[in-house]
């Protein structure tokens, strides 16, 4: 966390097409340091794609992803992502995190220590030796979160981080997301959950059919939506 920040992040006119369908259409977005940015939108709006592009997993057809200072792998090493569908290795809960930490070039003993800390962080401390894939969906999501956190990232991409969690687990993940900011980290998360967006967002991007219809400080977007789509979405009347 002592290294110079890779933020702010600027996405400039990001477009993505697939099979003739415009999945993302000239998205501009600015992510400021230590402000939680929420990408809000209905199913299929393009939230997951946008996060993967920002994280460098998918190349956009046009537009640029610009981090401050670092580029490429060096910038990516300071980021982590929790995927909407967690992909866990076919090994123990602990080994999943150890693998991720070891990829940063950290020695085994230190990685194991870090992994235990991460498991305690998400309340999975007593499941360390379980096969990762024997966990419930929500537990897998939390493990996936712990794995991302264990890498000590400055920026965390969280794609629907509470989508498969029960209310108590959702609440605790939300607390952790708030805690991230106190640790000096910056979260960029996607959700279609209005209530969660209201609780967590500092900045908001409202995505609809691949277009960023509104963007800015969350408070002003919630109190004063400019587009009929966001107005409808806030009333729970816009589904996709």
């Amino acid at each position: 966390m002592e290294a110079p920040s890779i933020l702010p992040l600027a996405l400039e006119s990001i477009s993505l097409r697939h099979d003739g369908q415009q999945i993302l259409d000239r998205i501009n977005m600015l992510v400021a340091r230590r402000r939680t940015t929420v990408v809000l939108g209905p199913n299929g709006a393009g939230k997951s794609m946008l996060l993967k592009i920002a994280h460098g997993l998918i190349a956009p057809d046009s537009g640029t992803v610009r981090w401050s200072g670092l580029t490429g792998a060096a910038a990516q090493a300071r980021q982590a992502m929790v995927f909407q569908k967690p992909v866990l290795l076919n090994r123990s809960v602990l080994a999943n995190i150890v693998h991720a930490v070891r990829l940063q070039g950290i020695a085994r003993a230190a990685a194991v220590h870090r992994a235990h800390t991460a498991l305690d962080y998400v309340g999975l401390g007593d499941m360390a030796i379980r096969p990762a894939r024997s966990l419930s969906g929500g537990e897998q999501q939390r493990l996936s979160f712990a794995r991302a956190w264990a890498r000590d990232p400055e920026v965390l991409f969280l794609d629907e981080p509470t989508a498969s969690l029960d209310p108590a687990a959702s609440w605790s993940i939300e607390q952790i997301i708030l805690e991230l900011r106190r640790e000096g980290r910056t979260a960029i998360l996607s959700t279609h959950d209005l209530a969660m967006a209201r609780r967590l967002a500092d900045d908001l991007v409202f995505l609809h059919h691949g277009r960023a219809l509104e963007a800015g400080p969350a408070a002003s977007l919630f109190s004063d939506p400019k587009t009929p789509e966001l107005t409808a979405f806030l009333k729970g009347e816009l589904h996709w």
Binding site: K52, H55, L57, A73, Q76, A77, Q79, A80, M81, F83, K85, V87, L89, N90, R91, H99, A100, L103, Q104, P131, R133, S134, G137, Q140, R147, R151
Partner: protein, 240 residues
């Protein structure tokens, strides 16, 4: 009829009387098979993994070729290895024709395409599911290969067992490069092929019984490996 019952009786006497000649042949056969499979794994596991994760021009052609080589006729491999190792051949200076080493090499050539092709299939389907996650964790393609091999270990093990089955059953290659020399290069399959005609029926039948038992054990092992991994695999599919 009496030939057969006589033969079986004599065969069991040899087997359970721990006839030195018979057991020498069994042990040598297994040593050659194991050496061949070990060599094939050394080449086939990394090669199959590399074919699965790297994209390069001519990749498809290589995959088609490797798949085709799975069906190499053993006698042809035997002939080619013979030509390479014979005194006037390019590797004649090694002076290993008609040794167990030559037999292991010939069998490795038969087994390597099997291990490579099956490993490629297994790792490629894992890579499809893991690619974004592993990339996010900063894993290079090269670093991903051992991770994927380990995660697909049960499937990889059945591929190795298939290779072992091929080595244990083939006769065409070892008979040409080994020569069925008593106490030196006589294996189960070469002994059966050549000793039957010489009236050594008990020996041939005894070895036949061992070979069939080995085939059953290998298949049972492969089946059990698959069986053990299936409930877990089903769980994974369900949780996706």
């Amino acid at each position: 009829m009496s030939d057969l019952t006589e033969g079986f009786a004599a065969a069991f006497r040899l087997l359970f009387g721990f006839d030195a000649d018979l057991w020498e042949i069994i042990v040598l056969s297994l040593e050659v098979n194991l050496a061949a499979v070990a060599l094939s794994c050394l080449i086939g596991l990394p090669l199959g993994g590399a074919l699965a994760v790297y994209r390069f021009r001519g990749r498809r052609a290589v995959i088609v070729l490797v798949n085709a080589l799975m069906g190499l006729p053993p006698v042809v491999v035997g002939l080619l290895v013979y030509l390479m190792l014979s005194r006037s051949g390019p590797l004649g200076a090694l002076n290993i024709l008609f040794t167990p080493g030559a037999m292991a090499i010939a069998q490795a050539i038969l087994v390597t395409p099997i291990v490579t092709a099956l490993t490629r299939q297994i790792v490629e389907s894992l890579w499809h599911d893991y690619r974004e996650q592993l990339t996010s964790l900063g894993s290079s393609r090269r670093r991903a290969i051992p991770t994927l091999l380990w995660d697909g270990r049960t499937a990889v093990l059945t591929a190795i067992l298939a290779g072992f089955g091929r080595a244990a059953a083939e006769v065409g290659a070892v008979i040409i490069v080994g020569g069925n020399i008593a106490h030196h290069t006589r294996t189960m399959t070469t002994a059966i092929a050549l000793e039957t005609g010489r009236g050594n029926l008990a020996l041939a039948l005894g070895l036949g019984i061992v070979l069939v038992t080995l085939a059953i054990v290998l298949n049972a092992a492969a089946w059990m490996v698959r069986e053990r991994s299936t409930p877990e695999a089903a769980l994974v599919v369900a949780s996706r």
